[in-house]
């Protein structure tokens, strides 16, 4: 089956919509500059802001703007364009898969110190979580047949595309809206700043002098569908999703490994999934953030996979900034524009490319771009790669839909149980609930009789809120100064799944899902899809929700449900 792309929408620092984006890209006009919308003590840091206020975005989105997260507003704008572009008017038979990490964090930042008021608590409880962002976007579009949220930090949007493609391949849906959205927030601006990876000048990916990234914001969504569905609807196919892979570096929560295991595997497996050889790739859109660590590792990975025949590659982060959870879909759209115009957009800020980057595109270049690779990497070593093609790639990979499965479930309530599995240096950064997860995982593996699973999927609603709140409180109470990086590093939802991957040395598929309340089985579905498509023969499913005194008090005042758990289940083919 061929998976066709029939529409897309985009908003970023380059402007609203396809035309503005293509115009900026083809004229070499970047969108990174002075901070105008976000109000931060670090206003001297350059950012790629969407040049519109929340009120202006709400106006374009056609929704009210009071207490609506900026990520939601950006998402609605891009998603509406995608549906219109694909000539879809009714979404009831479609699924919607969206990637985000900050969700409604901007609203929480504004309201957190006013939490003695029950109405304020209610707003936070309704708007903070990643899934509420997805739900609010969907409410502005119609009623989808299914929706869920992927939260694997900076690779969220690409992993949302992968989830959507698997829904089509396994014949669960014929048409899916996929992508991601992420607005700038004080929280992650300060977080990246505490990690000392923000450049005070324009970022310079793959340049000798590179000194960090610039944060950006935006959203992009694509309509993808079974090619027959596009033919039935009589809409043009813009390109195809040729192949994809999600792998895990399993090395460190924020740093990338020197030997580039995760990114190399993601690229190789994506090629394998597409049924093509490295020499078939015409162009690579790299993750290329501009941090010393990422670019060196990614270049190593590119050489691991492509040897001495590296195709032209570029990073468009100097145009848009690093749009974090949205970057995977924003750059997929940029890849489509590259294919459409047969133009590689220059990595224009690099003047002295690092050794081994002879193929770096330094000026706009017209060349064949029929098969394009798009990389997206995230904290937690969540590395994904996507292959796009102008023509359908012939490959036969019928999924096996009839499977007999067995499950082995365990849980844990005592954090000390983990000490029989890990030493003090390994557990020192883990919250009590994370320790419970470690114990539950080991017990479930023992029950299933395996050492490690092929894939890891975690599901959570509130994510790693304990560390998030430590960082948020510090940031709000210390005027954004002297912030400790450890809680931020462990604030992303994917911290749990990636810590377990590091612990087990598991380089396979790794994802974190924030299920919508109406579709609570999105993570189980993902696990079954991996087994059906042959990506895994065993999947570890983690279900976690951690206690936090402050957060739980807020939820109680809001009248919201409070749940705590640390469950692990191994799902295997019999």
């Amino acid at each position: 089956m061929n998976i066709a792309i029939t529409g897309y929408g985009i908003v970023s620092a380059l402007g609203v919509g396809r035309e503005a984006t293509l115009d900026a890209l083809s004229h070499g006009r970047g969108g990174v500059g002075r901070m105008r919308i976000l109000k931060s003590a670090h206003c001297d840091l350059p950012v790629g802001e969407v040049p519109l206020t929340d009120a202006e975005l709400a106006d374009i989105a056609g929704v009210p703007c009071i207490d609506v997260p900026r990520s939601t507003l950006l998402g609605i704008v891009a998603a509406k364009e995608a549906l219109q572009n694909a000539r879809v008017s009714d979404v009831c038979e479609m699924a919607f898969i969206s990637g985000t990490t900050v969700g409604g964090m901007d609203v929480t930042e504004r309201l957190w110190n006013k939490c003695d008021d029950a109405a304020v608590c209610k707003t936070i409880a309704q708007k903070h979580s990643a899934d509420s962002c997805t739900r609010d976007i969907s409410d502005a579009l119609g009623k989808f047949g299914f929706m869920t949220t992927i939260s694997t930090a900076c690779s969220s949007a690409l992993n949302a595309i992968i989830y959507g493609a698997d829904l089509i391949r396994t014949r669960r849906f014929r048409r899916v809206l996929v992508g991601g959205t992420e607005a700038l927030t004080l929280f992650h601006l300060n977080g990246f700043n505490s990690l000392r990876i923000l450049d005070s000048a324009l970022c310079r990916p793959f340049d000798e002098s590179r000194n960090g990234l610039n944060l950006g914001e935006g959203a992009a969504y694509l309509v993808i569908e079974d090619e027959d569905s596009a033919l039935d609807r009589n809409v043009p196919v813009l390109a195809y999703i040729g192949g994809y892979a999600n792998c895990c570096d399993a090395f460190h929560q924020t740093a990338t490994s020197d030997d580039a295991v995760g990114p190399s595997m993601a690229m190789s497996k994506a090629l394998q999934c597409a049924g093509i050889a490295p020499c078939d790739v015409d162009y690579i859109n790299t993750h290329g953030t501009g941090t010393p660590n990422n670019d060196q590792t990614e270049l190593t990975a590119v050489h691991n996979v492509f040897g001495n025949a590296v195709p032209p590659f570029s990073s468009t982060k100097c145009f848009t900034g690093h749009t974090t959870s949205a970057s995977g879909s924003i750059e997929t759209v940029i890849c489509l524009l590259t294919m459409e115009s047969q133009t590689a957009f220059a990595n224009f800020s690099a003047k002295q490319p690092i050794e081994g980057s002879n193929s770096l595109v330094l000026a706009k270049a017209y060349n064949r771009a029929d098969v394009v690779m798009c990389n997206s990497f995230g904290f937690g070593g969540n590395d994904s790669s996507l292959i796009l093609s102008r023509y359908a790639l012939a490959h036969n990979d019928e999924p096996c839909l009839e499977l007999a499965l067995q499950t082995f479930a365990e849980s844990c309530e005592n954090p000390d149980e983990c000490k029989q599995f890990l030493g003090p240096m390994q557990v020192r950064r883990m919250t009590p609930q994370m320790r419970c997860v470690v114990a539950a995982v080991h017990k479930s593996l023992r029950k299933a009789g395996i050492d490690k699973p092929d894939a890891i999927i975690a599901q959570t609603k509130w994510g790693c809120k304990h560390n998030s709140l430590i960082f948020l409180n510090d940031m709000l109470n210390n005027a954004e100064q002297e912030l400790s990086p450890t809680p931020f590093m462990q604030s992303t939802h994917n911290t749990v799944a990636s810590q377990i991957a590091i612990m087990l040395g598991c380089h396979g598929y790794n994802s974190t899902i924030v299920p919508d309340m109406a579709y609570p089985h999105a993570a189980d579905t993902d696990a079954v899809m991996l087994l059906q498509t042959g990506v895994a023969r065993s999947v570890l499913l983690i279900d976690f929700e951690e206690p936090d005194i402050e957060w739980d008090a807020m939820l109680e005042k809001a009248g919201a449900e409070i749940k705590h758990m640390a469950n692990a289940t191994i799902i295997m083919i019999e």
């Binding site: 460190h252 003090p424 240096m425 020192r428 002297e482 400790s484």
Partner: protein, 85 residues
């Protein structure tokens, strides 16, 4: 100087959450990173925040930390001569 070293060890244990460790477990002239305690790049950033918070020392370039955090002895010398509070 011995007081400062003890204080630094206590602050390191607290900042890096080295539970089950006491100041006497950290040897004055042993490396903190790599073969010694086995700390990582995030710990180095935590130590930079520690210097700023407790001693008013600001490092413009995090790479400077590599030299300063070689051992407790080196760190204590640096703090004694650069502290502003």
């Amino acid at each position: 100087m011995e007081d400062l070293k003890l204080m630094l060890k206590q602050q390191i244990i607290e900042a890096l959450n080295l539970e089950d460790m006491s100041p006497s477990d950290i040897i004055d002239d042993e490396p903190l990173f790599g073969s010694g305690l086995g700390l990582d790049s995030i710990d180095a950033l935590e130590l930079i925040v520690l210097l700023e918070k407790h001693y008013g020392i600001k490092l413009a370039d995090p790479k400077e930390g590599k030299q300063i955090f070689r051992s407790i002895n080196v760190m204590a010398d640096y703090v004694a001569s650069h502290r502003t509070k």
